[in-house]
């Protein structure tokens, strides 16, 4: 398939007079790891919520995994995975019970759930803890489990909203290995982050400032566009340019 995994045209979301996302246009190819950067409040989460069908766009169009988010959100939901900023698996269920619940919801057969669970839990070395209540797992493992659950039904596109927030550097590293493995299987990954070193791992990235995309391209292209040598400087330059009166 040659259609992009994600394609938006002037996608806009207003809350009253406030424009949270201002006419963003972007295209993410299948199998790409796309970084979605921006300061707090720049509109990243609002943009993602529109792409996963959780928030209706005020204006513009978006197609995700071949379906229009405005007219066919049900199809979008079937084809995507989502890991929210807040840990949102069931704390009072075990690892296995969470996997079985979401596997069933996505229409996997019992056999599929079993084999997929074995495979995914092995990938994050959590097999021994499959009957542990999720609330008893350390944060890093909870986050990895949330990623695995988001991938359970082999979605075409997976949205990760600050997946590495609050986890230690070793787990962050591990997380990016998991993200690469996911992309290698052909799943498109859209990931938001605050860590600019992580942005270097992305195939392409965009930097949002005040609801608009201020820069977009491969890490090297973005550095060249702004004319500085690191993404740190790119980020500071772009956000300062707007913040200055």
């Amino acid at each position: 398939m040659t259609t992009p995994a994600i394609e938006t045209t002037n996608l806009t979301r207003r809350f009253g007079d406030f424009v949270a996302v201002d006419a963003i246009t972007l295209s993410v190819a299948r199998g790409e790891v796309f970084g979605f950067l921006g300061a707090n409040g720049a509109g990243k989460t609002t943009a993602i919520r529109m792409l996963i069908g959780l928030l209706a766009p005020s204006d513009g169009e978006a197609t995700v995994a071949g379906a229009n988010v405005r007219t066919d959100p049900a199809t979008v939901r079937r084809r995507i995975g989502y890991m929210s900023q807040r840990f949102s698996l069931y704390d009072d269920l075990t690892v296995r019970e969470n996997v079985e619940l979401y596997g069933t919801i996505y229409g996997l057969s019992r056999a599929e759930i079993r084999s997929r669970m074995t495979e995914l839990l092995e990938r994050i070395q959590l097999t021994a803890s499959r009957d542990t209540l999720v609330r008893q797992l350390p944060l890093g493992w909870k986050q990895q489990l949330a990623l695995m659950v988001a991938l359970l039904h082999r979605p075409e596109v997976v949205f990760l909203d600050e997946p590495t927030g609050g986890v230690d550097p070793i787990t962050r590293r591990r997380f990016w290995e998991l993200i690469y493995a996911t992309a290698a299987e052909g799943t498109t990954v859209l990931v938001t982050t605050h860590y600019l070193d992580e942005a270097e791992y992305c195939d392409r990235l965009s930097i949002m400032v005040d609801g608009r995309i201020a820069a977009m391209g491969t890490p090297a292209e973005v550095r060249a566009q702004v004319g500085v040598s690191t993404l740190d400087e790119v980020f500071l330059t772009l956000t300062r340019a707007v913040a200055a009166p």
Binding site: R49, I52, G53, L54, L55, A56, P73, A74, R77, R78, I80, Y82, S84, R86, F87, S88, L89, Y90, D91, D92, L93, E97, E100, L101, Y102, T104, I105, Y106, G107, L133
Partner: protein, 362 residues
């Protein structure tokens, strides 16, 4: 509606209830404790009333009447001499709850079949208690005075007020407890997921609104039916409530009624954002439902507009149905329309809950 999805979501709800000790206590222990405590508290058995007697007649007839009052166990005579001017002071100081004055010539008038009067003054600070004292005293006085037999019939109705009251109250208490638990559990259930963020995750899955509400309804419906069943058994075994009519009718009606009560809880949960908001709305609704159910105050005593409101109250209909079937032995032909009405209300409120469910924000 995919049955597998509903089943998986229901399993999750049940696991969560049984893994959360506070919820488990709320579900299992509190209703039974409340049933036992309230059923014993909901009685107008005032015990022996402290009675002061001023007998100006001093005949065997007047003495026999006083003896009858004491012998009934309803009264103890705390004094026999009081000046008429001091009666109010005696009541005010609560030395006695009631004062009985028998006029001179009472026995003679009764013997001649002429009308005569005895005076009973009651401390009516608490109206209901005063009413019971009055009824009990009246019954005895009338019998002693040789009142017509038509009055005797009414006396018997009132003469065993404690037991009758319990027969009447326990089914009502059971209904209110089941309603409170069911409505609070459902009102919390969706808002809890909103607060935890787990609802956002569910909302990006293919779960439909109908599947979601069905899976939220059925587990709590089962729990509420369980509470109702255990409560009915306790009511029968411990409080010996009558079961004149067919118990299966009561169960059928309970199943239908709970779809309304839990549907209202779910609807509250869909229109509020936090558990705290949901609790406020649920308490508001519960208070109105329970106070206007005819459980504590007779519907006939309410003004017309309030009666009209009460008729829209599912609790009122179900309490009435329980009493009609259990105490009076009403059959399906009589209570059928009520059950159908509750079914329509349940379908409407559940439909509303499904419509109000938002898979998207704002």
């Amino acid at each position: 509606m995919k049955l597998r999805t509903i089943g998986a979501l229901m399993r999750k709800e049940v696991l969560q209830v049984f893994r959360d000790p506070p919820t488990l206590v709320q579900v299992l222990a509190i209703p039974l404790i409340q049933l036992v405590v309230l059923a014993n508290a909901a009685t107008f058995d005032t015990g022996a009333t402290r009675l002061l007697v001023r007998d100006d007649d001093r005949t065997p007839a007047s003495a026999a009447m006083v003896a009858e009052l004491v012998g009934s166990g309803e009264f103890t005579v705390v004094g026999t001499a009081v000046a008429p001017a001091h009666i109010e002071a005696v009541l005010r100081r609560r030395e006695a709850a009631a004062v009985l004055q028998i006029p001179a010539g009472f026995a003679a008038a009764v013997a001649r079949g002429e009308p005569t009067a005895v005076q009973l003054q009651i401390n009516a600070e608490e109206g209901a208690v005063a009413g019971l004292i009055q009824q009990a005293a009246l019954a005895i006085v009338e019998r002693q005075a040789g009142a017509p037999s038509t009055l005797e019939v009414r006396q018997q109705g009132w003469f065993n007020p404690t037991r009758r009251y319990k027969d009447w109250m326990v089914p009502g208490i059971l209904v209110s407890l089941t309603t409170i638990i069911g409505l609070l559990l459902t009102a919390q259930s969706i808002t809890r997921e909103k607060e935890l963020g787990t609802l956002e995750q569910l909302n990006v899955t293919p779960v439909t609104k109908g599947e979601f509400i069905t899976a939220k309804l059925l587990p709590f419906w089962g729990i509420a039916m369980g509470i109702f069943t255990v409560g009915l058994i306790v009511s029968k075994v411990v409080f010996a409530i009558p079961t004149v009519g067919a118990v299966p009718i009561v169960f059928l009606a309970a199943m239908v009624y709970l779809s309304v009560a839990l549907g209202i809880g779910l609807w509250i949960s869909t229109v509020t954002q936090t558990q705290q908001q949901a609790m406020f709305v649920a308490f508001f609704v519960l208070l109105i439902f329970l106070l206007m159910s005819g459980l504590f105050t007779p519907l006939e005593a309410m003004p017309d507009w309030a009666q009209a409101v009460a008729h829209a109250n599912p609790v009122m209909h179900f309490v009435g149905l329980m009493r009609a079937v259990l105490v009076r032995g009403a059959g399906l032909a009589e209570v059928g329309p009520t059950i159908v009405g509750l079914g329509i209300a349940g379908a409407a409120v559940l439909g509303l809950a499904v419509m109000q469910t938002r898979k998207t924000l704002e």
